[in-house]
Amino acid sequence: MSVLYSFSYFIFSFVVLSIIGLFVSWIDRKITARIQWRVGPPWYQNFVDIIKLSGKEILISENSNKFMFIFSPILAVTSSTICGSILFLVLRKNLGFGGDLILFVYLLTIPSLSIILGGSSSGNVLASVGISRELKLLLSYELPFICGIIIPAIKANSTTSLIEIVKFQEINGSNILSLSGVIGFIVILISSIGKLGVVPFDLAEAETEIAGGALIEYSGILLGFYKLARAILFFVIPSFIVILYLGGTPLNNFLGILIFIIKYFIILILITLIRNTNPRLRIDQALKFFWGWLTLIGIMGILFVLTGM
């Protein structure tokens, strides 16, 4: 029963997360268009893109590793869906093991890893440039991202359970209302932009330099799976930040859900604004930025939270 239940729950959360994610990515595109004084795409645009990609031919190049080439987009969608389904359970507060933070960090790494796997198995030169950048980017943003995760974990009496963090904020107010909370919020927001792979840190698939990077050989629904995984992460990562830093409202009534959505949109709009006002960084600049300033600020935040500020 439990296997069947978890499988059907997975399918259900996949459908719900895809709908939410594609809609949210449309909002991102629309805001971008309005910032550039354009009209922008209609609301169903991202759904139509995925349906179109599912109807296209799938081309697999001769010198690729065919199994990994087909397997890695499915891996990307699966891992991001599991992230999202754990997030739903955390929000409803009925999870057996309390939503472990370390598990979440691992699961959020898998979409980037699957891009690396897919790109390296496609046997394209530009894709190998793309995956080398993606690998360096993964190494660089992971450190400040973990700094940003440790701060609320220490705050909530040194726990790694997401539900404990949610409960702690319901009693003591949001984490962002303290000095270390503000620092941690900034650090995790910027490193999550790297995780999403949007513009200041989109060097892994820079269209103008390396023609799509790791995804260059993908076509048809396999490309659609990557787009879907990206769309789901567009929902998962900002709501993860909301849970860690902007929590404090119980979600058991309509008002609580509305406040959660407003908080989510604040973070989404922040990410979109940063994306639209910054040029793409080179890989050495990104590495210096993440390992230099951002990690320093993150460690400072950890010191603050240890002294109780």
């Binding site: 268009a33 922008g40 645009q45 139509v48 349906i51 179109k52 109807g55 296209k56 799938i58 081309l59």
Partner: protein, 138 residues
């Protein structure tokens, strides 16, 4: 009309093929993406790789070096795809039709679905050509 075709018409990803053009048509194509014309409201965006593309937007004459590459790009594009010849050179050869480097306009090399004449065609002309084709498509 089935869902596949309907969704294809609403979301065309364009790959820009230049077969040796004088850059005038290419500039007009880039104009399509500017806020004044904004083709993203029809779901049209520029794709980075021919594997992602639904439309090949071809400009320029096809010179002899380009023939193999253009055939390769056409084969790399997942079907169904649409080929659009933009500008007088891509449609018929234009003023270069007697040149020694000319290997025929685009329809000698790959099947072309839409011809948009002009030297260079206005962005409005390109939009109206594609819209007329999409209305005919069944």
């Amino acid at each position: 009309m089935n869902l596949k075709l309907k969704s294809l018409k609403k979301s065309l990803w364009v790959y820009h093929v230049s077969g040796g053009s004088c850059n005038n048509c290419d500039i007009e194509i880039l104009d399509l993406l500017t806020p004044r014309f904004d083709v993203e409201r029809f779901g049209i965006i520029l794709a980075a790789s021919p594997r992602h593309a639904d439309v090949l937007l071809c400009t320029g004459i096809v010179n002899k070096k380009c023939v193999e590459r253009i055939k390769e790009i056409y084969e790399q594009t997942p079907k169904p795809c649409v080929v659009v010849a933009v500008g007088a050179c891509a449609c018929s050869g234009g003023i270069f039709r007697d040149g020694y480097q000319m290997a025929g306009p685009f329809d000698k090399v790959i099947p072309v679905h839409i011809y948009i004449p002009g030297c260079p065609p206005k962005p409005e002309a390109i939009i109206s050509g594609i819209v007329k084709f999409l209305k005919e498509l069944k």
